[in-house]
Point group: C2
Chain length 197, copies 2
């Protein structure tokens, strides 16, 4: 499935980057032509329209997310530590978040209002995280309903941090908030090891 160097894959990678950095609407096929060096015709040979490119990107992102999450599942046993690892993702991505916002949040914002189809395509990215976070809270003995609520709340917290960091272009805010959020998690749900980090 992973065709590292095929033309199709190159287009997908480039589009993924540009859609994130410039937005979906603001990125034209011409931009993809410039960035890939391919011809316009070649691109439409591989994807019949822009929506198909987006679908390919979402597929790619979904497998990336799945890989990341199962990697964390492998490396980390404690649910609390997993939640904390999730928060640390913001730190890992702080430069991108500051400049371009959350890759999921910003693309959803573009589609949710006026592109129901594209919106539907993008929803699963959010759901992946929601589901995984819910699992962690269930491991902490919350009821399914409460676990799901906590998962959404944590997602909400990180989305808020991403928005403010991006709007005010202020990375230091992100660092402070993630630090506080991690402490809050470890205080609330145990594991004081991570409090000292």
């Amino acid at each position: 499935m992973k065709q590292g160097n095929t033309t199709k894959f190159r287009i997908l990678e480039t589009a993924n980057k540009l859609f994130y950095q410039q937005g979906f609407h603001a990125t034209s096929i011409a931009n993809l032509v410039d960035e890939t060096g391919l011809s316009k015709g070649n691109i439409t040979y591989h994807f019949k329209n822009k929506q198909e490119i987006l679908e390919g990107i979402v597929q790619k992102r979904l497998t990336d997310i799945d890989e990341t999450l199962s990697q964390w599942d492998k490396e980390i046993s404690s649910p609390v530590e997993k939640l904390i690892r999730f928060c640390e993702m913001l730190i890992d991505e702080q430069d991108n978040l500051e400049q371009y916002g959350c890759p999921m949040g910003t693309i959803m914002g573009e589609f949710s209002k006026n592109q129901p189809t594209l919106y539907q395509i993008s929803i699963p990215m959010f759901k992946r995280f929601k589901t995984w976070l819910t699992e962690q809270f269930e491991s902490l003995n919350f009821t399914p309903e409460k676990a799901s609520e906590n998962a959404l709340e944590l997602l909400s917290r990180t989305q808020g941090i991403a928005v403010i960091t991006h709007v005010f272009m202020d990375k230091s805010f992100l660092k402070k908030e993630v630090f506080k959020l991690k402490n809050e998690l470890s205080e609330k749900y145990g594991t004081f090891n991570s409090k000292l980090k």
Copy 2:
């Protein structure tokens, strides 16, 4: 300054609504023509381009925000209660937030990436709230730095709630989170009256 029924004002109101509900890029001049019943030429007579319309809208929103905030200043004396009133704005707007997201957050998301000029125009809306919230925390005897940090954190929380509510189209999440947020504020900073609400 407030020309209630002039053509210019009508255009502004319509554009404000459509930009919010559909997004700036997705709204065409033709849409404004349909919605206002005016001619294309008439619209461009009052605003020479789309950007000018946006500038007008932001001005309108800024005065609206100012009015709301000074209204709250008049009605409410306790800083904590003011913070709580701010959170309750989410409840007041729950239907819109669910359907269209935060009016500031979503429009900023559209501009921050690829429209530096429009981004600059929109920033003051966020700043208004940040400044006002900071004032409240200063009244609670926080240092200016800490007050500003708390203000951003509260803004961040509400933005996160708005994003998740919109993405998952889930108003009940908003209600739960605002309830918790209000309690958190009153517990942290006093005023247990509001805890009972």
